[in-house]
Every structure is written in structure tokens, then in C-alpha cells.
Subunit: 114 residues, 4 copies
């Protein structure tokens, strides 16, 4: 799955700078400015919470797929927000790596008897 987020960063950056807002959703978000993008982040977060409550209650496949879809929407709009502020998914993922000292932790986890 690895380079998907980076590919998506590249697609977003390209459309943000050169696509037509009337045909590209990313370009229309960029055209609307940071506030428009942040409203979508908040909206998608709310939809993620609702989908998680639904999935947690039923645990059926449809509700779980809905949660995956809402989380994908949330992360996608975070990528657009980052691009708008000249950042990218790499900055976030590197921060997670640094914070969790992942090489070390993951290695240790792999050696831990379960």
C-alpha cells in the first residue's frame, strides 16, 4: 500500500496548481480557500464519528465499509489542507514515525512472544 499517500499528494498538488475549479474537486477546494477546506475536514470528522458509532453498534460489513469511506474522506481532506499550507502526508507520517520511534518499537514488537 506504500506509496499511495505520496501519489495522492502529487495528484492533489498538481490539480491544486493547474486544474480548472469547474471540473476538478481539488481545484474547487483550493479556489475556495483554507476556510472552505477546513469546513470539509470538520464535516468529514463528524461523519467519521457517526459512521464509527454505527459500525460499533452493528459490526456488519456495510457499516464497516461506510466507516472506511468516511475515514478516507477525512484523510483526503487533511491531505488537501496540508497541500494548501505547503505540507504533505510525508510530514505527518514522519512525525508519527519520530514520535513512536517506529523502527525500534516495531522491531521490538516483532520479537515479543505473543
Amino acid at each position: 500500500m506504500s506509496e499511495i499517500l505520496q501519489q495522492l499528494d502529487a495528484v492533489i498538488a498538481q490539480r491544486m496548481s493547474s486544474a480548472d475549479p469547474s471540473t476538478s474537486y481539488v481545484a474547487s477546494l483550493a479556489h475556495g480557500g483554507l476556510d472552505r477546506i477546513l469546513k470539509k475536514v470538520a464535516e468529514e470528522c463528524g461523519e467519521t464519528l457517526i459512521a464509527a458509532k454505527n459500525a460499533g453498534h452493528t459490526m456488519n460489513a456495510e457499516q464497516r465499509a461506510a466507516l472506511v469511506g468516511e475515514t478516507a474522506d477525512l484523510w483526503f481532506h487533511c491531505l488537501v489542507m496540508l497541500a494548501r499550507l505547503e505540507l504533505s502526508s510525508s510530514d505527518v507520517v514522519q512525525e508519527l514515525e519520530r514520535r513512536f520511534n517506529l523502527s525500534g518499537i516495531a522491531e521490538k514488537a516483532s520479537r515479543t512472544p505473543r
Copy 2:
């Protein structure tokens, strides 16, 4: 950066199932149940919006680092939420790949004269 999210999934899954809630933050979240995790997702989303507004206003390095940190917090708590519901970052990233048809789009983007 590629396998970081998957490594983080693995760390979260292990701690969620076997770590002590008094010493592991992930285990304490899992112990608190889905609602406790979702409250953190909402809280981190709010902090991301605030950090983005601050970064968008000043565009200085400190504010941009704060935004990266808050987005990392948001994504991390999404990973914990997914793990709680027996899903993972792979489900979300694959959904993004499917939705944006990334192989095709990324290839086309790479051929587009800029």
C-alpha cells in the same frame, strides 16, 4: 515513508490486546471503549482546525510544525479507532487508491506536461 502506517497498525493492535492500561496509552484508550476513542478523534480534529488557521495566518515554521503534530494526533487516533473496530490503515489507504484510481491517475499525471 511507506510502511510506517502499517507498522503503527501493528504496534496499536499489539498494545490494544496485551498491554497494561496503566502504562500504555493505547491500552488505556482501548480500555475506555469506543466512545473514549471517538472523543479523542473529535478533540484532535478541533485542534487540527485551530492549528491550520494559525499556520494559514502566519505561515511560520513553528505554526506549521504544530499543524503537522495535530494532524499526526488526528490520524493516530483514527488508527486506534479503526483497530478497535477490527479495521486498519490499509483499509483506508486502499479505499483512497480505489477511489482515485491512483495507478492510472498518477501515471497520467506523470505524463502531463506542466
Copy 3:
């Protein structure tokens, strides 16, 4: 200003039970179910945060009016949510009164030399 929220409760309850979803916004929200209403609450909360950051930065009249408008949207959709669950603004305001022991506190505040 006093009975405005109660009047609004009454209008919402009436439209929710008898208005046509194709012409009444409240009826259309009710028709969409609790999740549709909660998505609006989350969306309006995000817009309130953004408006507050804008107003806090400029403190000009237009931005402050925008914040008032977004907060009104947020409270309105909370009223719709409460109505959907057979609650009303009175329940919330009474909870605030009880929690802050307002008669007592307000009286004491009025006597405190400033």
C-alpha cells in the same frame, strides 16, 4: 430575549411532525434521520471554530457577525437534534441553571463589589 428558544422549539416540533420535507428545511432534516441532523451539528461546529478564529484575528464587525451567525446555526441544529430525541432547549437551559446554581450565583455576583 427570553422565550425565543422556546418559541423556536415549538416551531421546530410542529414542522418536524407535520411539514412537507420538500418545502421545510426542518422537515427535511427530520426526514433524513438522526445521522443527517448530527452531520449538520458537526459541520456547524467546524464553521463556528473557523469563524471564531477569523473574528479573534481581526475583531472587525463583519467577522463578528459571521461568528454570531455560525453559532446560531450550531445552536439551531442542536435544537433540531434535541427535538428529534424528544428533548428541548428547556432541558439544556435547566441543566445549565442547575449546574451553575444560577439564582444563587447570579445574586451573589450582583452583590460582589467590582
Copy 4:
């Protein structure tokens, strides 16, 4: 229930300007600045959504009381946010009155046969 929100505005304004942050929650929020207040608004909105989903599922008294409590928290922190920006509940309630033309609408509603 009428003047409760206005009383609460007065209590908040007084504590914000003169109370000790080490003993007054409102003073500690004010001391923390707008971002600290907005983080609480976002957090309480998340808790409201979660409580509403729980109440919508069970419709039992305990869950409904929890929703009332979370909505009260959300509105309270909105009042603190408004006070911080030199606004008050009156501005929001008047906006709702204006927007819904409540005198007229409420009168009409009272005449509508049900």
C-alpha cells in the same frame, strides 16, 4: 427559563475579568486564550454527537440525560467563546429570532390547525 442564559453571560463575564484562574474554571479558560476555549468547543461537540448516537439507539433516561449534559457543556463553552470575543448569548438568540422571524412565525404556528 428565560433569563438563564443572560445570567450565565453575566457570571462568565465577571469571572473572566476578575476571577482567579487557579480557582475559577472560566477564568482558567480565559487565561488559556481563544484557542484553549475553541478546543473545548470542539471537544464538547464531539461528546454531544456521541451522546446523541447513544441516546438515539437506546432512548433510555440515562442516555438522554447524558445528551442534555453534553449539549449544556457545548452551549456553555460557546458562551465562554462569545464572551472572549465581546459577544454574548443575546447576539445569538437575536440572530435566531431575526432569521426565523419568530414573532410572526410563532403566531402563525399557534393559529395553524394541527
